[in-house]
Every structure is written in C-alpha cells, then in structure tokens.
Symmetry: C2
Subunit: 331 residues, 2 copies
C-alpha cells in the first residue's frame, strides 16, 4: 500500500519535495459497514494548491504528514456495506493512496458502461458540475443572451462555453494563445475568442464582439481581464466568480477597478461559486451532462498520466500548462 | 414660476454653476385630465449625481437645459382629473419647479394626517423602501447575524440599522464624525459605530467589534471603507451595493481591493440594488414601515433646508456629509 503525504507546504510553485511517499506492507481490513477501495483514477486540480497552504479558506488546509486528497475513482475490492458490492466503481474525495478503507459516506457509484471512468472526474465530475451548476444556478442563462467566459480553454471554461451554446447563447471565450482560440471555435463551438496576450484592448474587443453588451460573465481568472469585462456588462448582468487564478500568486493584496459602481449602475450580481455548496443538485446535473455527452452535444479533452508515483509531477505540471483539458492520473 | 435647469454636467464634485435658475411669469393652465401642482418638499439624493452625467446608467441622464427631477411632495392646486381633488398632496418624480402640470401618471397620494408630509420622501418613501427592500431582498437577514452598514448616519443607512435591530441582528455602523456615531448608538440603537475619519485601521476595528465576522454588508459608500469590510466577511456573506458615494465624483476609473478572491473564498454575493426594480413589493414594505413607525420601533432624522433657491446647495452639501439623515428642501 502506497500513500502520498504532504511533507511541507509549498512556497510559491509546488515541487516534488513538498510530498513524501510512504510504502507499507499492512493488510487493510474492514469492519461492518465499511468497504475496501483500490484507486483507479486520481484527479489533480489547481485548487489543491490552496489546500496546501494554511490560509483560511472554504475548505480546511491539508495537514502536514497526512495524505493529500482529491477526486478519485476507486474500485470496491471488498465490502461489508450493503450499499456497495465488490467490483463497483465509486467517485469521491479520497486519499492519494493505492488502497483505503471507507464507510461509503460521500461516495457515489459510477457506471463505466455509460462513459469512460475518467470522465467521472472531468465532464461528469467536479469539472462538469462546476460548469453546469455555476452557469445555471448563478448565471441563469436565457437563449439569445451573451456570455463571456475567461479561462475559456481550461477544463471548466470549455464546458461552460459548450453548455451556453446548447442553451442558445452567444458565447465569447478569452484565452492566452491563438491555438487555444482556434480550439474554442473549432472544437468547442464558441462564437468568438479573444487572445488576451496579443489583444491590446480587451474592453474594446468585447464591445466589438458583443455590441449589445454582456449578460453573463463566467470568471475563472480575475484581474485585468475581468476589469475589461465589467465595462461591458448589461443591466441585470450575472457574474459568476469561479476562480481568480490571475491573482492567486500575488503577495500584495491585489487591486482592480472598483466593481461597486458597475454593479449598482446595472443592478448586477456577482457571486462566488463553490460547487460543493450545491451537492443536492449533483444528480440532476450529472443526468443532464450524461445525456448531452451521449448525444455528442458535449465534448472534452483530457491528459492521462500513468502511474501512482507520477501524481505529484502531474499536479506540478498543471502550473506549466502541460495538460490539455482535464489532467488525470491512471493508477 | 421658478425652475432649476441642468446648465452643464458636473466634472467631479457638483457646484452651483452646474444649475441655472429660470423665472417665468407665465400662468400655467391645465387641460382635461391634468392637475396643477405646487411643490411643497423636494428630496435631494446622492444618486442624482449619476443622472447629471451622460454615462449609460439604469436611468437616462438629465438633459442639458431641462429641469432637474427628484422625489417631490406637491399640493394639488387645481384639477381637471377625477382622481385628484384640490388640496390633495401627492408624491412622485417631479421637476425642480415651483409649479408644474401633470396628468397624474406615476403620482401617489399621501396622507399628511398619518405622518408628516416630509416622511413620504424619507422613511415612508424611497429612503425607507430602499433600506427595507435592499436589506430583505438581497441581504436576507437572520436573527443573530452581524451586519455592517456604511453611510450609517445617512437617510438610508440609519433606517437599515434600525430594521436590522428589529430583526435581531448585531449592527455596526460606519460614519464620519463622533457626533454621528453617538447618534447611531443613542438614537438608532446600533450596537457599535466606527468613525472612519479618526479610526486608522477600520479592518482591525471591525475584527474587534465582529469577532465572528460579517454576514451582511449594506454598502452606501464604496472605496476604502468597503475594502476594509471585505477582509471580514463570512462564508455566504451578502453585500448590498446601494450606493458608492465615495467614488461618484471621481473623474478617473476608481481602483479598489480586488473583490473576486474574497467572493469565491467565501461563496459570497455582491449585488447592485436599485429600489425601482422592486416596485411590486412597495405596498407590503410601506405597510410594514408604517406599522413600525406607529409602534415607535423606527425613528428618523431629517435635515430640512428652507427655500426653493437652496435646492442646488442642499444637493451639493450631501457630498460633504452636511446632512443628518434625509436631506429635504421645504419650498
């Protein structure tokens, strides 16, 4: 049995020395109500960087010398719990550990005949849920409206854009390379894209692409890109704050254009979105996403790395953009 | 008949030279369906500054060389409209004009025997409605929560604090003089107050007064005061953006602490509030406010300036905080 512990907290960009591998020969046993799990796929996500710090946040920090956790698809290899049988696959927040014991709380069964198992960490997992629920619960999209998505080529952003197209919106994506902009339009069906690295005036470009203004902004980045969008919002605009990656690494408190005058002038709403607050809506969302996936209305990209020992490297590679779409480690 | 026109658009802080007084000898006449009105009380409000600019906003800008408008209580002095009789008092959005003709659209009759006429511009008018509906519709207050109110000694802020106390919240007000802070506590029942002019570290002071954090922030001011509150918001906090008086007169786009990381970390909501969007809820709100007023659970302060010719000065004085509570000009 192998486990990956948080050895020390990253200063700046994480490195492999932040993690420690432990190998034990112990045979795990289960008690009544418990199941034995074997990891099959492990999700690595940028947000885990936050839990490796000890700053106050919506999820408690990882403890030093304890296993790191993330979204995992695992196989039930032994069971003393009537809700699970041997051979079932489950998804949940689990340890970076080859084998582990669970009482089943917080685990959901996944059906590998309906979609590849890895999809339950991406488009049918937190990624898809974040896109679907963030857009619907806060964005309340209506056909004919215009949405801007930042971080549009990322795992969440690319799904937001596709769902918005399904719902009949005009979709503008913002990303950092021409290759990504091409992909947004050719693969994910966005109506238009803006390369923030080559475009000198994002505000003016949005005005050109959205002459009637922006009704919804799905914000993954914060910072100057979000400032530019603000100048284009419509009355009753909804802004979903899903992430603020552009300012996560700043050491000083970041400053931006004051949002308050824009919000009051436009009766606009800005709300922080964390998918775990909407757990009661997961089943309905998964059902809809699965249908769209089966109908080929949704597509996705994933980067699959092989081997438990490569989890830390795969995580670190996220910050160098080495992944395309969702980054997953196959055990 | 005297009229106040918008002579030119203010650059920065408004001055008396932005306004022009016109005196005419014309005798106004009314046609069938019309009424003749004589202004009795004129409301001056910070939001009017926005309408004096020609920037796109939720209400169209005032036109140059046309009368400025605001909330007015007027007496019906002649009538050819069956809905109004001579001697009635009405409230509505009317011109800064001693006499004017109306067809009655958008006017509400007010009953001066139930409360002083000026109250219908304040606690039983837009001021009270803004406080009540902003707090309830966006703030969704729950007993035991903590609210911070900025511009707390202002017309809206002082009502917000009183309603929050009625509803069982812990109420902290921010205002600009010790006299105002004393009034918040002694007259309006706030639990605590912070003088932003003498307190060097508002963030730390809020932490001290609200050790369990801030659940609701009713924001009338924007700028550095609002930045300080952000550092103290709780998970699921609601921030009502009712005004941003601190930045209304800025000529450059104002910058503040980036709100996005605070909102996402706390799943918090920030929403621009404009009372006119909630017109369907006015009757219920007025009923509740009238009851509380009759039960003496609510009190209010007004600063009454005398004389039609002093309307512009009274308006300008708002930006220097010269008013206590609702600023009204008695004609």
């Amino acid at each position: 049995m192998k486990t990956i512990l948080l050895n020390n907290r990253p200063q700046g960009k994480p490195t492999t020395s932040n993690f420690e591998f432990v190998t034990e020969d112990t045979e795990l046993t289960i008690k009544d109500g418990e199941i034995l799990l074997e990891a099959a796929y492990v999700s690595v996500d940028p947000y885990l960087r936050g839990r490796m710090s000890d700053a106050k946040s919506y999820v408690p920090p990882f403890q030093l010398n304890e296993p790191v956790q993330s979204g995992v698809i695992a196989k039930v290899t032994a069971t003393k719990n009537d809700n699970f049988k041997e051979g079932d696959y489950v998804s949940g927040l689990l340890n970076w550990q080859t084998q582990q014991v669970s009482n089943g709380d917080g685990l959901n069964k996944v059906d590998g005949t309906k979609a590849p198992l890895s999809a339950f960490l991406g488009i049918l997992g937190m990624t898809g849920l974040t896109a679907y629920l963030g857009l619907n619960e806060i964005g309340k999209p209506k056909a004919g409206e215009t949405i801007v998505v930042s971080g549009a080529a990322g795992a969440v952003g690319s799904v937001v854009g596709q769902i918005a197209k399904i719902l009949g919106l005009n979709v503008i994506g913002i990303a950092g390379t021409d290759e990504k902009i091409d992909m947004l339009k050719s693969k994910f069906g966005f109506d238009a894209g803006i390369n923030y690295n080559t475009n000198k005036d994002i505000n003016a470009e949005i005005k050109k692409l959205a002459p009637n203004g922006v009704d919804i902004y799905f914000d993954n980045v914060g910072g100057p890109i979000s400032d530019a969008v603000l100048f284009n919002i419509n009355r009753f605009a909804r802004i979903i704050i899903c992430g603020a990656i552009s300012v996560y690494n700043e050491t000083e408190t970041p400053k931006s254009v004051s949002v308050q005058p824009f919000l009051v002038k436009n009766s606009a709403l800005m709300q922080g979105f964390i998918v775990s607050n909407y757990a009661d809506k997961f089943p309905g969302a998964i059902k809809q996403l699965s249908e769209w996936l089966a109908e080929e209305k949704l597509t996705y990209t994933e980067t699959i790395v092989n081997g438990f020992e490569n989890i830390p490297t795969a995580f670190i590679d996220l910050f160098e953009g080495k992944n395309k779409g969702k980054m997953i480690v196959k055990i």
